[in-house]
């Protein structure tokens, strides 16, 4: 008994300090989470942080989520997401985008804000962490480190460019979390900041090459300058046509590299959009996908594809039967224009590979359940014999459909891997042509005509071409806007173009009437205005 007591006493005395320490220790051990303090220790970690904004850009720059693309295209004169029977009302958000009646509480507007600023935050976070660390400690040479930060600063400028496009007057933030409530800067000041950032970093950034597939580069920097100067009159109040032409020339002359050899136009008009378009010569900056190797696939089928679309394409990818071409746009394409047949989908639909023998049957309990799927160039309740055509009167087959980018059939070795082009050389040709015409008082010069014809000619056979080639007389500003629409349909630039041509709020199309001039900018989302009192609402919108 005595011995037992002794043992008990000594044991408890020995245990006491151990207990006292571990008894109140509440530190967390993170088993499956990375702590930021412990990151950026080697090259792979750095690269993984540099590339984070790109996978995020997929969310806002391509169709499929409410980002820059949806606000830019669904408020324009080419595309809309009409209600189709029981589908697609979606709280009226697509209807309000189309009619230009969005509110300061609009979820599409808020979502775009959040997506873009989050992407910008990824840039800021990586820039801050990489710039604040010694190159050697990250396993990088100084040149590599500068290359990464240069690229990230260009990419950040790209985010600012698109934010400025949508919202106009925005804060300028370069450090995560500081200041907590940044103030709105006028659009001209944002313009200057972007211009300076691009110019300061364009030469630090690497030339475009295959190794930079899907990433910002020196070439991307020039494309950004071209966009910035093309819209400078609107954005900064001062026209910059010569600067714009110079930026275009840097790309047309391929001074900043190319993805597949020198930057050059694709000869075939489907090459830029096919499943293996990483072989395109004209893409300057894209969001890269590879479903086969990496399971990273485009998100846009959700917006464009019908519920049974996969059968047309020989794959299982269907969509929400959302975005369609506005009635009347289809007929602006000439029948001889190959883009009409290659990029748009109309009429009875057949299963992939059946050569028009095996119809695609609509299923899912909608208007044409059990019948062949036939896309039509109108938006009205044909099943009920109605002729009323507006945003609420669609059916499951209403509207001509998107067929520009191709996923390919299941058997395609590049299935679901087509990259989404943000900048392509054809667009630079048009930018330069427009700058020349505007510099020339809105009248085409032969140089401008040649630039546009170079692109347009790809869409016509040799026999058809002479009848459709532009001359300095036929390439009016209105015709340029129409041709921009045909060449760049679905690519996201329509709102910017309409604003530049003064048509965005004054024009009418289908069931859309002219809107208030302040609608050229989207409102600052009300939730953010309420949180950050240093933000200023855009003119015309309530606080």
């Amino acid at each position: 008994m005595k011995r037992f007591k002794k043992i008990a006493v000594y044991t408890s005395l020995a245990l006491l300090p151990v207990l006292a320490n571990s008894c109140t220790n509440l530190d967390e051990k993170a088993y499956d989470t990375l702590l930021t303090n412990n990151f950026y220790n080697n090259r792979n970690e750095v690269v993984s942080a540099v590339l984070r904004p790109y996978t995020h850009a997929n969310a806002w720059i391509t169709p499929g989520q409410s980002g820059w693309w949806r606000l830019s295209e669904l408020s324009g004169d080419q595309l809309a997401w009409p209600q189709k029977g029981r589908h697609g009302y979606d709280n009226g958000q697509w209807i309000r985008l189309h009619y230009h009646t969005w509110t300061v509480d609009e979820s599409t507007v808020l979502n775009c804000w959040n997506l873009l600023w989050t992407g910008l935050g990824f840039c800021n976070d990586a820039i801050g962490n990489i710039e604040g660390r010694d190159a050697a400690k990250m396993g990088l040479s100084q040149e590599e480190k500068d290359g990464f930060t240069g690229e990230l600063r260009l990419l950040r400028a790209f985010h600012y460019l698109r934010l400025m496009d949508i919202y106009g007057n925005i804060p300028i933030v370069t450090t995560v979390g500081e200041p907590v409530s940044p103030e709105t800067k006028p659009r001209a000041e944002v313009f200057s900041f972007i211009e300076k950032e691009i110019k300061d970093n364009i030469d630090k950034s690497p030339n475009l090459s295959k190794a930079l597939l899907g990433r910002m580069s020196k070439a991307g920097g020039y494309a950004m300058l071209a966009e910035l100067y093309l819209n400078a009159e609107k954005w900064s109040g001062t026209a910059r046509w010569d600067d714009c032409i110079a930026a275009c020339d840097a790309l047309i002359n391929s001074t900043a590299g190319g993805m597949n050899g020198a930057l050059a136009l694709d000869t075939n008009l489907t090459d830029t959009y096919k499943p293996n378009n990483d072989l395109s010569k004209e893409i300057i900056f894209s969001i890269a996908y590879d479903y086969i190797i990496s399971n990273f696939a485009p998100q846009w089928p959700g917006d464009f594809y019908h519920f049974n679309q996969g059968q047309i394409n020989g794959n299982p990818i269907n969509g929400n039967d959302g975005v369609v071409v506005i009635p009347g746009v289809y007929t602006t394409f000439d029948d001889a224009d190959k883009r009409k047949k290659e990029w748009l989908l109309i009429g009875p639909q057949w299963k992939y590979g059946s050569n028009g023998t095996d119809p695609v049957i609509a299923s899912g309990g909608n208007e044409y359940d059990g019948q062949q799927l036939v896309f039509v160039d109108n938006i009205r309740k044909n099943a009920q014999g109605s002729t009323v055509s507006d945003m609420t009167q669609g059916e499951e087959n209403s509207g001509v459909r998107f067929n520009k980018y191709r996923l390919g059939p299941l058997t395609d070795p590049s299935y679901r891997s087509c990259d989404w082009a943000v900048y392509r050389l054809s667009w630079i040709y048009f930018v330069k042509a427009e700058a020349i015409m505007r510099k020339n008082g809105g009248v085409a010069t032969q140089e401008a005509v040649d630039l546009v014809n170079t692109i347009k000619q790809r869409a016509y056979s040799a026999a058809d071409w002479p009848a459709h080639a532009y001359t300095t007389a036929t390439l009016t500003m209105d015709e340029l806007l129409a041709e921009l629409g045909r060449e760049f349909i679905f690519e996201g630039y329509r709102r910017q173009e309409l604003i530049r041509f003064g048509k965005y709020t004054t024009g009418t199309w289908w069931d859309h009437n002219a809107s208030e001039s302040y609608r050229e900018l989207f409102p600052i989302p009300r939730t953010q205005l309420q949180l950050n009192t240093n933000l200023k609402q855009n003119d015309g919108y309530p606080n």
Binding site: N25, L35, V47, T55, R86, I95, N308, E367
Partner: protein
């Protein structure tokens, strides 16, 4: 002084010994044998285990199972004292007869005597907080799918809602006294035999001795940071001293469809195609699709066999069970078996007590069906067939052939849960007891499933190459809690009981899953995942996680009792959790409560009808640590693969949240005032409680400034919710005769739960919206709560009639009518109802006639609304040509507009249902040699419901949490639709 007291003590012991020696000598010389039987006054049933003692002596015995006893008593005038827990102690002078039969009456003033409170028990009389204790005889008897089903509707203020209906694989939603959190855990802490965070799978209804609900903060504060949702303490049955006893219980249950929504039958649908009202193809079949999913042969059976017994030093109870539950839907089953063992033993001259419990549950669940498959089949064109003409399954891209799915896919989960705990207590010196409690609960499962090559899933998504997956999960919880208890009486009448302790709890959880496709045949199923082709191409999936958390606390409680008249209790818990920000890991949780037993006051002496009257008042602070692990750390999250300069696609990383080093506890402070009463010799008993609780610093993902932050939300302490209410528990015995008795039990509660605030000095939220309606047309959230609003406010458009063409019109703020797209959700929408019942009411009528007993249990909810999305989605022509409810052509026949959420679809949810009707018969055995007791019973559950609500059974519509009130077939926002059922069961309880 000390020496003197000690001498007195010693001399007292000597005296006692001598006296007892003397008595026993007497007994030896003149003893005689008394026999008799002890029965219960109300039912005349024998009472086993009653202590029979000679007054003033140590001679005593206990009654046997048939209530009989035999005792040798000394000569002379002797009195026998009969004592039994829950009964009045009865003293009888022994006359000349050698037979002394006694009838014991229940001690209503003791009110079931002992109540389990946190870290101990208390005499009911001493309790100063709002605690409700439910015994097995009061349990619901319709065959529990979860232990808490047993007390549904039995505890005023405790809401238990089966949103998954009778699906055996779902747990009920549990909420006590309203919502106490926005994003953290809202469920009460479950404590099973001292194991905090106990696993309900380990509880079988036949093993439960009592369920004690600590409702207010003054009772729950001893559990500190996990007690915001209240505490439910479950005590399992233990062995008692006496001969070995065997009990066997079983039941068999069959379920039938009830309250099936009235979609058009195939014939009606075909007729409408013929008449042109539906524009669809009549394929010529007449199929009742939903009926194809019903398991008409369902049978649920439960068997439980328990052995118990014990001696002077130790006792034991062991039980095994088998429970096989078949849902009303095919491929929806749960089969479980397991056991529970408990041993108590004493040593060191009864100074050392040890208690060991071991419980385990093995279950196998078929998870393929959960009711989510009903919608597709209800709405399917009933002139179609699930088969093609050649007998193969009919598939189409946009729907799922549910019958094919349950034939061509599998999804089985096999789970094992085990808990073991031990408590060793030592009486150190008189009044001082030291204990150490330790427990471990291990919960693990593996789940696997396979879709055949030719299944729809495989054909449409996996290139007809099958799809297989496996997942595994492991959660282990440890607890170590040493305590010291001290009991002292000062100056005779001042009794102090104190307990102090330390609690260390650690929980670790890990998970793994993998999936693959690209199989050549269906042989392997999910048993050879690596055989699929997709590992090579990167399409095979794999994921895992692991995280842990720690809770450390120091706690203490002092109870004071003066003559059983005035009582007070003080609690303090100091607790820390690893989950919180570096600046706020620790919190303090104090409580104070007082009680006053008025019956013994002089001024109450004349009030003869009063048996007992006690006033209680308490205040307590509790917390909530039920948030995600690692919530306050600065972390990097994966962003998906992207192409690297070397052409290889690698994972990207970026910040995935805005860190908040100031993250701190949600804290609830609660006031509770109550009265316990008993009148007319126990004919009327009950309790009334009034409470007000305020929960502050609620955690919510608040929108933050973006820019400059990376994401637009931060997890921060911003909100405040409060609730106040009245709870009434009442039991009455209107009739009580020798052969017949009628008892009524009522539980009533009324509460108001408001969201007071969403803001703190940094962040402001104007409102939050909840309850995603889901389904077609993306109608958004049904509920919007502004600061100061009641929780559960429906917020939407106000119906103003239809246009001539049948399109919707709604009221604008200025009273004019307008179509939907001209309404501004900020200005023109309004509060159009509330989804949280104001009143919960249940009452039980129990009739006993001789050996028969009949019980009818009614349960209802009142003063609230439900959004009838059944009408909204399926009672609308907008849904055509999918099948629709009959009302699409009748009640809603004029509507041609698309889906719109408005008060047109808001209905009153009020209902009262006959939840349980049980008829039982207790077999009166003359001889108890083989059988000691036997009861047969038959129960019908959900026999009928009285309600004006036109959708599904309103009882299954969620009424707890922040997103209540949406009735639906779709599974949006965690809803768990299921088929309504009515159950019939028979059962048997036998004791050997």
């Amino acid at each position: 002084m000390y020496m003197k007291r000690r001498l007195v003590f010693l001399s007292r012991i000597c005296l006692h010994s001598i006296w007892m020696l003397f008595l026993s000598m007497l007994a030896f010389s003149q003893s005689r044998t008394i026999t008799g039987k002890v029965v219960d006054a109300s039912g005349q049933s024998p009472l086993p285990g009653v202590t029979v003692q000679v007054k003033g002596a140590t001679i005593g015995t206990q009654t046997k199972v048939d209530g009989s006893y035999t005792l040798n008593i000394p000569g002379g005038s002797v009195s026998l004292v009969f004592t039994f827990v829950g009964y009045k102690t009865t003293e009888i002078a022994v006359g000349t007869s050698n037979t002394v039969n006694v009838t014991l009456t229940a001690d209503v003033t003791a009110l079931k005597d002992v109540v389990v409170v946190g870290y101990g028990t208390q005499k009911k009389q001493e309790v100063t907080s709002a605690i409700t204790s439910i015994e097995p005889s009061d349990f619901r008897q319709s065959g529990a799918r979860n232990a808490l089903d047993l007390v549904q509707g039995k505890v005023a203020g405790l809401q238990i809602t089966r949103t998954g209906g009778s699906n055996p694989n779902t747990s009920p939603a549990i909420q006590l006294r309203g919502v106490t959190s926005l994003t953290g855990s809202m469920s009460p802490l479950i404590v099973i035999d001292g194991i905090p965070g106990g696993n309900l799978d380990l509880l079988q209804q036949d093993d439960i001795a009592s369920i004690s609900v600590l409702k207010d903060g003054s009772a729950a504060a001893i559990y500190g940071t996990q007690a915001n949702g209240g505490v439910i303490i479950v005590t399992t049955k233990k062995g008692v001293k006496g001969p070995a006893r065997v009990t066997y219980n079983n039941y068999f249950r069959k379920e039938y469809k009830s309250r099936i929504p009235k979609f058009l039958t195939a014939d009606e649908y075909a007729a409408k195609i013929a008449s042109g009202e539906i524009n669809a193809t009549d394929k010529g079949y007449r199929t009742d699709f939903v009926d194809l999913l019903v398991n008409h042969d369902n049978l649920t059976q439960n068997h439980n066999l328990a052995f118990s017994g014990g001696g002077e030093q130790s006792n034991y109870r062991a039980s095994v069970y088998y429970l096989n539950q078949e849902g009303i839907l095919k491929a929806n089953e749960r089969q479980q078996y397991g056991g529970r063992l408990s041993i108590t033993s004493k040593g060191l001259n009864d100074r050392l007590t040890s208690q060991f419990n071991l419980a385990t549950n093995f279950n196998k669940a078929n998870l393929l069906t959960d009711g989510g498959n009903l919608q597709g089949y209800y709405t399917f064109n009933p002139t179609y067939s699930p088969y093609n003409p050649d007998g193969s399954w009919y598939f189409e891209q946009t729907s799922t052939n549910e019958l094919a799915r349950i034939n061509q896919q599998t999804d089985i989960r096999q789970q094992q849960t085990t808990s073991g705990d031990a408590k060793v207590s030592l009486d150190i010196v008189k009044g001082l007891k030291g204990s150490i409690f330790g427990s471990v609960t291990r919960d693990s499962w593996t789940e696997g499933g396979y879709a055949d090559l030719l299944s729809e899933l495989s054909v449409e998504n996996y290139d007809s190459t099958g799809y297989a997956f496996q997942a595994s999960f492991l959660n282990i919880k440890y607890a170590v809690e040493p305590t010291l208890e001290y009991n002292i009486t000062v100056n005779k009448n001042h009794n102090f009981t104190a307990i102090g302790g330390y609690s260390y709890r650690y929980e670790v959880e890990q998970y793994f899953d993998a999936n693959n496709y690209g199989f050549v045949n269906d042989i392997f199923q999910e048993n050879n995942l690596g055989a699929g082709n997709m590992l090579l191409t990167g399409k095979a999936g794999m994921s895992s996680y692991k995280n842990d958390n720690k809770l450390i606390a120091f706690f203490g409680r002092v109870n004071y009792n003066y003559k059983d008249k005035y009582m007070a209790s003080v609690i303090l818990r100091h607790e820390g959790s690893s989950r919180f920000g570096a600046n706020n890991k620790w919190g303090n949780f104090p409580a104070l409560s007082v009680g006053w037993n008025m019956r013994d006051e002089p001024f109450m002496q004349g009030v003869t009808f009063l048996d007992d009257l006690k006033l209680r008042a308490g205040y307590g602070v509790t917390g909530n640590s039920g948030i995600s692990n690692y919530s306050s750390l600065v972390t990097m999250g994966t962003g998906g693969n992207y192409i690297n300069p070397d052409g290889v696609w690698r994972q990207t990383y970026g910040p995935n949240k805005n860190p908040n080093p100031n993250l701190k506890w949600e804290k609830k402070s609660e006031y509770n005032v109550g009265v316990d009463f008993s009148f007319f010799k126990g004919r009327i008993t009950g309790a009334v409680d009034v409470y007000k609780r305020i929960t502050k610093d609620l955690l919510e993902n608040v929108t933050t400034q973006l820019p400059p932050f990376v994401t637009n939300s931060i997890y921060a302490n911003v909100g405040q919710v409060s609730s106040k209410g009245v709870e009434l528990t009442l039991s009455g015995i209107p009739v009580r005769t020798k052969d017949f008795s009628w008892t009524v039990d009522v539980a009533f509660s009324n509460s108001k739960n408001t969201l007071d605030r969403y803001s703190n000095e940094l962040y402001t939220i104007k409102y939050q919206s909840y309850a995603d309606i889901g389904g077609y047309g993306a109608l958004g959230n049904a509920i919007r709560t502004y600061e100061g609003d009641r929780i559960g406010n429906f917020y939407g458009k106000r119906f103003a009639g239809l246009t001539d063409s049948g399109d919707w019109l709604f009221y604008k703020a200025d009273g004019t009518k307008a179509p939907a797209d001209q309404l501004d959700s900020e200005k023109d929408f309004a509060v159009i109802g509330n989804a949280v019942p104001k009143v919960y009411l249940s009452f039980t009528n129990t009739f006993k006639y001789k050996n028969f007993d009949l019980r009818a249990f009614f349960r209802g909810k009142f003063g609230y609304n439900i959004l009838n999305t059944m009408e909204m989605f399926y009672g609308s022509k907008a849904s055509l040509p999918s099948n629709v409810l009959e009302t699409a052509f009748t009640k809603n026949g004029k509507i041609t507009g698309g889906y719109q959420y408005s008060d047109y679809y808001i209905e009153k949810g009020n209902f009262m249902k006959l939840d349980e009707l049980t008829l039982g018969y207790t077999v009166p055995f003359k001889s108890k040699k083989t059988f000691q007791s036997m009861r047969l019973y038959a129960t019908a559950s959900n026999l009928f419901i009285i309600t004006k609500y036109t959708g599904n059974d309103p009882d299954y519509v969620r009424d707890t949490g922040l997103k209540p009130g949406v009735d639906a077939l779709n599974a949006s926002d965690d809803r768990t639709p299921y088929m309504g059922t009515r159950g019939f069961m028979v059962g048997l309880n036998v004791g050997f």
